[in-house]
Symmetry: C2
Amino acid sequence: MKLVETVPNFSEGRRKDVIEKVINALSSVKGVHLLDYTSDQDHNRSVVTLIGDPESIMEALFRGTQKTTELIDLTRQQGVHPRIGAMDVIPFIPYKDITMKECIELSKSLGKKIAEELKIPVYLYAYSASNPARKRLPEVRKGEFEGLIEEIKLPERHPDFGEPVIHPTAGATAVGARKFLIAYNINLNTREVKIAEKIARAVRETSGGLVNVQAKGLWLKDQEIVQVTMNLMDFEVTPIYRAYELVKMEAHRYGVEILESEIIGLPPIKSLLQSLSYYLKIRGKGYDFSLEERLTEKLLE
Amino acid sequence: MKLVETVPNFSEGRRKDVIEKVINALSSVKGVHLLDYTSDQDHNRSVVTLIGDPESIMEALFRGTQKTTELIDLTRQQGVHPRIGAMDVIPFIPYKDITMKECIELSKSLGKKIAEELKIPVYLYAYSASNPARKRLPEVRKGEFEGLIEEIKLPERHPDFGEPVIHPTAGATAVGARKFLIAYNINLNTREVKIAEKIARAVRETSGGLVNVQAKGLWLKDQEIVQVTMNLMDFEVTPIYRAYELVKMEAHRYGVEILESEIIGLPPIKSLLQSLSYYLKIRGKGYDFSLEERLTEKLLE
């Protein structure tokens, strides 16, 4: 049975009633399992994890995007997380009996539908990108909603689907196929955002750090601390523990300690056991040694 | 749907053909999922993890015990792990929609059948124990197969099922209901078994260490190193990382380091994420944050 995973990110993390309505729309199709969602006040953003057969997932994502278009107005939305759209990003991730190529096709077909029926310009990113400059989400999201209003008119920023005119309240949406991504945040016991920014530069790929890691330093107003927010783009190569230990090491330079860390959404168990194996020096077995993982395999057989 | 887990331990970890035949017998019943097995040369022992509905599991365990009785002769079997029987221990663990009380009933019914049909004396242990002295497996196994030949005649060592006469080749079997147990071994970079014994005394409940932890020091002939072998009897209260860090701390006193550690069988994911959360200071979420665990829940709904 083909199973695809999707982790739509939408730009509302504060208004409970809005969050609930979008989640309901996203999980209203038979065949779609809602596995998890997380809402963050500072980010003003929610991240949902769904799994299901391709056809049901496509319908659920369309309904969810429609709902965010009705309920979220980006001209009034503020948060520390960059965003271009009400439904900001929709990734398709191969989960079982489905290839990356099939996921690329799904992303294109959904992008086309969103552009045509909801009048929202759509950018293809990651494995679906039409050119290398659009592979990385930060490039696609450059300038954010506010900047894109003008920039979308430039040829190099024309969307892949829809007219080069931003939706007045719902902005634009990025859709693409990708590997499993781990959104991973580390909070530090300092109020100096410059320290978080320096650490982010030290750990990320683009400025001398770990490959497959994107990182930014943020100020968390509500908690009055700073955060290094990361995306681990290929955990099989660059695991969670390595990012954690490198942040810890760089923080020590400034006399700063890690307060806590947070994995957003539902990571595959392999990514977790890989890190546990490091700390406990677990030998041999590989990463499929939990009871639930083995049972899932049997139940899906 | 009622699901019970069982982790039979049998006294053969070297002869591949024998191991295979026992595994086949244990997994030959429809409705039984064979999730895992591990065989250890030094321990000369295999540990199997099965899950299924109670009736199928009962039949599978009887067939497996019958097979070990045919193929394993304890008068010729040697290993560093203590044992009283060819099929040494059979625990029943509540997994889903089943109570500890029901698992106690299952253990008694299987024990009776093994004693009557295979002429193997059976001891009830853990939650099924008929008196407090039999709650702990090390007590039930005291003297091992060789010692029990005589001791079984003493009233306080009479079996719960069957005559007080040991089976000449298959010994005796312990059957009982219990919580999930984590068998956890830590290897140390020293050849001095006395150091492993001292560390074991320092970390186990009966001599000043952690509650819910049983521990022994062993010499691993094949690898020429020593091991602290532990049972964590209630990981929700006394987690894996605490045992690991305490062994590490006690080992440092002797200038000894941990080489590697090994979890035998399939631990519940909760026990693993609990430890990962310690190392990565993961906040909030509890321990059900992997994709596979959530999916298993949905698939079993």
